[in-house]
Symmetry: C2
Subunit: 369 residues, 2 copies
């Protein structure tokens, strides 16, 4: 049973006590004796600034919360605190954790992206997330709608643990529509994390800070879709500052949420089509990090199927196939552009469908490969 | 009136005489006196190899062809021969040209890509090609189906000259379905080019060699879509070897013809979303080349509209908008995923359409921005 020093929690819950002070104290155990005086000075400043401290009450609640099974308060000095996170300069001095501490000991890969994602982005996030989870990586993300939720879902469907870092305190789940997802994360052996006190609200300024934890926990960060001025780009920048790899998924030049990824690619992010692209880079570039933080871990290969690279289209069907793309077209349009008669067209489409080359919904057809 | 030395044409038409020999002769005018003996030696070798020379007849036909207005045979020593092409080590010693020689004096940008292109690739090729043409660049390509044809068409629609380099002799147009496109290129002030004798067939091995002329004529080569083992990737490699810029358009990770572009991007090609991306790079990176080859030319900026970068979606419509993407979905699917009632859904879709945010065809809707 872990014991959490209540004077540290008191300091943590006292407005005006900086994270930097807490980090300093935790790094220098011999200075722990200095806490009372330091605490006193900062408390005086804090009270003068008009903050009314309810630190003792909050500490009591936190200690009570941490008594429940599956709830943990990890000091940075705790052996269960993720070692990789402790390598970033502004690591959180305290982490509130709900869930299974074991998943924090495995290598993580962050998958983040736009809330206003497209179906393309969500399907790629799911596909890559699932394959990375199967390879043994723990997927970390931010529990947001869109890409984040898809990444968590992919890991859950792969029966692999996933970690969500919240921008609010663990007494609540935000966005509230994701309470069920949060429960699935917990029952799947994953964890919810926050550096904030239990009742902290999801204030806007929490999220950029939260993002440094997502990237800091992870060997690398994969950005699937991102607006040009967005939290995902902040996470990517933080990952770079933390000397972690940044991965980005390309997409349509006409899609505003792919433009953020394209910007990252211009800046040197690793272009990522499949989980294999991530795994190869982690295997070769992050070996030192892997060896240091996860000495016993063996990274599997993903099960991504690249056999579809080579598409064989029967020659007579090539003109028809060339008119199909990811954007569905109606059979009428195909009649017009190919000049085929209706019978030949529908026979051709059927043949393409049977060959796994075309899909359709009613009268509208698209290319599958 | 240009005079073409018939002894050079004779050598050109003689099987077994290498391009290297012709280049050497054209570069060293003082060695022109040595031609007869050189010719003799190589002819002997050629005849011994079983080649029966009809060089004289071919030369006569070529001279007759070059007598027609708008037909030219340019020796590399001709002042009208494109100077930028002469900078590549294996420049063609002779160029057959149909069309307007003036367009060869302007800076060119190659746009190439897959024959089995998708609608996405064709629309991007058209869009970027049109904007580059408007900025004053001459679009060069290979007259192939798919991306090449779109690039030529875009320039024609922008009332700008465009240059097609063929993999066969200029007595014919290949592919034959593009004879009309070829005529439009000519009537639009562009040109058809070939290094091959007039009646050369479009043999497979001509095309990789042809590609070095496309890239060699151009300040840079933009690859829009490319299969993994394809002529477009060859053109890109040649462009790099020629110290020219390579540009590539990203696309769906699920699209085999975008994978070639993604490979180029991994290798350092310039990620290109709009004509502006090309123009900026040419302006800053190719200034020396520009100044040397086109001292009087001023590069315009394209008219690409980037005002759409920031999408404002009315808040109540955001959940609906988030379900739309470049892949169309049916209104029924939208009903199911949004949980809206039909009236609210159709009002919402209409509002998105009026705001320029969604498009539809019948009952299927997609995101425009």
């Amino acid at each position: 049973m872990r014991t959490i020093p209540s004077h540290i929690l008191n300091l943590f819950h006292t407005p005006g006590i900086s994270q930097a002070t807490l980090r300093l104290l935790l790094e220098n155990e011999d200075q722990l004796a200095a806490i009372p005086s330091l605490e006193e000075q900062e408390l005086v400043r804090s009270v003068m600034a008009g903050n009314c401290s309810s630190a003792a009450a909050m500490t009591a609640e936190a200690l009570q919360w941490a008594d429940h099974p599956g709830n943990y308060i990890l000091l940075a000095s705790d052996p269960d605190y993720p070692q990789i996170l402790k390598q970033i300069p502004d690591y959180p001095p305290l982490l509130f954790v709900r869930g299974d501490l074991q998943c924090l000991k495995r290598p993580m890969l962050a998958i983040v992206g736009a809330r206003n994602s497209t179906a393309y982005g969500r399907s790629v996030a799911y596909q890559i997330g699932r394959d990375l989870a199967r390879s043994g990586l723990v997927i970390s993300s931010g529990l947001a709608s869109g890409i984040d939720a898809q990444a968590h879902n992919a890991a859950i469907d792969a029966a692999a643990p996933t970690v969500a870092v919240l921008g609010n305190g663990l007494a609540d789940v935000y966005p509230q529509v994701h309470w069920r997802l949060a429960e699935q994360i917990l029952s799947g052996g994953g964890a919810l994390l926050s550096e904030l006190h239990l009742r902290a609200e999801p204030l806007a300024h929490h999220f950029p800070k939260r993002n440094r934890i997502i990237s800091g926990l992870s060997l690398g960060t994969l950005v699937v879709e991102a607006n040009m001025r967005s939290g995902s780009l902040i996470t990517a920048r933080l990952a770079l500052e933390q000397n972690r790899e940044v991965f980005a998924v390309p997409g349509s030049v006409n899609s505003p949420v792919s433009r953020g990824c394209h910007r990252l690619l211009r800046q040197g992010a690793v272009l990522t089509e499949t989980a294999e692209d991530v795994i190869e880079h982690i295997r070769f570039l992050c070996q030192a990090q892997m060896a240091m933080s996860y000495p016993d871990f063996v990274l599997g290969s993903s099960v991504a199927d690249r056999s579809g690279d080579r598409v064989r289209v029967p020659k007579p069907l090539k003109p028809l196939y060339s008119e199909l793309s990811i954007d569905p077209v109606s059979a009428d349009q195909l009649l017009a552009v190919t000049g085929l008669d209706p019978g030949t067209l529908s026979a051709g489409l059927l043949e393409l469908e049977l060959a796994g080359l075309a899909g359709h919904e009613g009268n509208r057809w698209w290319r599958l490969r």
